[in-house]
C-alpha cells in the first residue's frame, strides 16, 4: 500500500453477527486495542501493547465489525496534516501528493482509498473533520459526552471526542449508532436522546425542506476563494431542496484559535506527564536521578510538535502566567459557547467551509507552526463549545476536495445527519 495509511495492519475479528457484520473498520492508533500495538504515532509508544480495549473497540467487536488496522495519525493527535507521525506521512488518496489532513489522516485516507468501509478517529480541535474534508469523505465530531473516551489516549480531555468516518452520511451515522451512549468507565458520558425505535442512520433522509441555516460571516473571512465558491455552490443545492439561509455573526470566534491552543496545550502538558519511561514507553535508562532519566526518555520519545505543545502548555500554566493565558482562554471558551447558543436560537444549524483552505502539498506546511494553527479557525470553536458537527463533501476546487461543516445544538446529531445527508 503506497499511501502509508496504517501504522499496524492487523485483523481483529468481531462477533459473528451484529449491525456492522461484514463491515471493515480502520481505528486511529490512539484508541486502545487489547493485544494490538497502539503507538499514538509516537516513538514513545513504538512498542506499547494495551492490556485492554477502549469502550468503542469493545462496541465495534460486539457489533460484528472487523478491524483491519491501526491508522496513521499526527503524533498524539497534535497536527493538521498527519506529517508529525513518527511513522512517516500519509498520502491523500483523493488528492495524491497532498496531505490527508489531520490528525486522523490515516482513518480518513483508509475510507477514501477503500481500505476500510468505515473508520474511527478522534477530534480535539478538528481532527476528524479536517481529514474528512481533505480526503472527500464524511466525518462526525459528536457532542462532548456522547461517546466514551475510555481507552482513548488523552491529549486535551475537555475538548476531545471519538468520531466516525464513512463514504456517506448514513454509513458514518451507522457507526455512531454503535459507539454512542453512556459508559460507566467515562463519567462525562450520557445516553443518546434517541427513542428506542430510532437510530442515527435512520435520520439520514436528506430532508432539508424548511431547514434554517445560519452562515457565520467570520468563518468565511480570509478563506481561500475557491473554497468559498464551492461552499456557496453546496449551499445553493440545499436551498434548491427547500432550505433557507441567513448570515449570523459570532464575534467571539476571532479569539477561538488562541483560546483553543492555550487550553489544549495546557491539558497536553499535564496529560503527557505520564510518559516517563517507567511503566510503559521508551525508557530513559537508569543513569543519573529520576528527573534526568525522565527528561532523556521524553527527549528521545517525543517529536518536535509534541515538545512544542508540552513546553508552551507548561509555560501557560506556570506561576505568574496562569491568569494571563489559561484564565483568559477559559473566558473566551465561555464566550464562544454563548455566541453559538445565540446563533442556534435563530437557526437550526450553522454552515461554513470545514477548512478555510484546500489540502496542502506534502511537506509544504511544516516549518511555520503558527500558520498551521490558524488553519484550524473553523473547527476549534466547535470543540470549545462542546457541540456536534459534521463535515460532508461539498465539491472540489482545482481538483482538490472541499468540505462543508454543519454545527448543531448539543446532542442534536440527528438534525445534522438529516441535513448533511442531502449532500452525501
Amino acid at each position: 500500500m503506497s499511501e502509508n495509511i496504517f501504522i499496524t495492519e492487523e485483523r481483529i475479528d468481531g462477533s459473528d453477527d451484529g449491525p456492522l457484520a461484514g463491515k471493515t473498520v480502520a481505528v486511529k492508533d490512539n484508541i486502545s486495542t487489547e493485544g494490538v500495538r497502539t503507538t499514538c504515532g509516537s516513538r514513545m509508544l513504538e512498542d506499547y501493547v494495551p492490556p485492554y480495549d477502549a469502550t468503542v473497540v469493545s462496541r465495534l467487536k460486539d457489533a460484528g465489525a472487523t478491524i483491519v488496522g491501526k491508522a496513521n495519525m499526527d503524533e498524539f493527535g497534535m497536527g493538521t496534516t498527519t506529517e508529525t507521525s513518527y511513522f512517516g506521512e500519509t498520502d491523500n488518496p483523493a488528492a495524491p501528493g497532498h496531505v490527508p489532513g489531520g490528525s486522523s489522516g490515516g482513518s480518513a485516507a483508509a475510507v477514501a482509498a477503500g481500505e476500510a468501509d468505515l473508520a474511527l478517529g478522534s477530534d480535539t480541535g478538528g481532527s476528524v473533520r479536517c481529514p474528512a474534508a481533505f480526503c472527500g469523505v464524511v466525518g462526525i465530531k459528536p457532542t462532548y459526552g456522547l461517546v466514551s473516551r475510555y481507552g482513548l489516549v488523552a491529549y486535551g480531555n475537555s475538548l476531545e471526542q471519538i468520531g466516525p468516518f464513512g463514504e456517506t452520511v448514513e454509513e458514518a451515522a451507522s457507526l455512531l449508532d454503535v459507539i454512542a451512549g453512556s459508559d460507566d468507565r467515562d463519567a462525562t458520558t450520557r445516553e443518546t436522546p434517541l427513542e428506542a425505535d430510532e437510530s442515527y442512520a435512520d435520520a439520514a433522509t436528506g430532508d432539508v425542506d424548511g431547514l434554517s441555516i445560519g452562515v457565520p460571516t467570520e468563518l468565511l473571512e480570509g478563506a481561500d476563494e475557491g473554497v468559498v465558491e464551492t461552499f456557496w455552490d453546496a449551499l445553493a443545492e440545499l436551498e434548491d431542496r427547500g432550505a433557507e439561509y441567513h448570515e449570523v455573526s459570532l464575534p467571539s470566534v476571532e479569539h477561538a484559535v488562541e483560546a483553543y491552543y492555550v487550553i489544549a496545550m495546557s491539558e497536553a502538558s499535564s496529560n503527557l506527564a505520564r510518559f516517563d519511561g517507567v511503566r510503559y514507553g521508551r525508557s530513559g535508562g537508569y543513569d543519573g536521578n529520576w528527573n534526568e532519566a525522565f527528561a532523556t526518555a521524553r527527549e528521545e520519545g517525543f517529536g518536535d510538535e509534541v515538545k512544542r505543545r508540552i513546553l508552551l502548555g507548561t509555560y501557560a500554566l506556570s506561576a505568574g502566567y496562569h491568569d494571563k493565558y489559561y484564565k483568559k482562554a477559559q473566558d473566551a471558551r465561555a464566550w464562544v459557547k454563548q455566541d453559538f447558543d445565540e446563533a442556534l436560537s435563530e437557526a437550526d444549524v450553522l454552515a461554513s467551509p470545514t477548512m478555510p483552505v484546500p489540502p496542502f502539498e506534502l511537506g509544504e506546511s511544516l516549518d511555520d507552526p503558527l500558520q498551521l494553527y490558524l488553519a484550524d479557525a473553523n473547527t476549534v470553536p466547535v470543540n470549545l463549545a462542546d457541540l456536534p458537527a459534521i463535515s460532508v463533501p461539498a465539491g472540489e476546487t482545482d481538483g482538490l476536495p472541499v468540505g462543508l461543516q454543519l454545527v448543531g445544538p448539543a446532542f442534536g446529531e440527528e438534525r445534522l445527519i438529516r441535513a448533511a445527508s442531502a449532500l452525501a
Binding site: V49, V278, N289, R308
Partner: protein
C-alpha cells in the same frame, strides 16, 4: 517572556520544568517560534470577562471493589521490573 522577545534561557527553564531535554538547535528553533506563538496568544487580552455558569451535575458511583488488571498484565509494558514491581531510576 511575554513582554519582550523570548530568550533561549527561558525556553531551557520551561523545558526543565516539563522534564524534556532539548538539544541546542531545538532551543534555538523553539525560541523564535515561541515568540511568534506567544505574541499571538496576547490577543486574549481583548477577551471580556464572561460569566461561566456551567450547568453540570457531578457523576458519582459507589466506592466498591471491582475487577482490574492483574499485576502481570500491568507490568507487561514496563521496560524493567523487579519482584513484581515497576523499576525506576534513582529518586535523588
Amino acid at each position: 517572556m511575554s513582554d519582550d522577545a523570548v530568550s533561549p534561557e527561558e525556553v531551557r527553564h520551561v523545558a526543565e520544568l516539563a522534564r524534556v531535554d532539548l538539544a541546542d538547535d531545538e532551543v534555538d528553533r523553539f525560541t523564535g517560534q515561541f515568540a511568534d506563538i506567544l505574541e499571538y496568544f496576547e490577543t486574549l487580552d481583548e477577551v471580556p470577562e464572561v460569566d461561566r455558569d456551567a450547568d453540570l451535575a457531578n457523576v458519582m458511583r459507589p466506592d466498591e471493589e471491582r475487577a482490574s488488571l492483574d499485576s502481570e498484565e500491568a507490568l507487561r509494558n514496563a521496560p524493567e521490573t523487579e519482584d513484581g514491581y515497576f523499576k525506576g531510576p534513582n529518586v535523588s
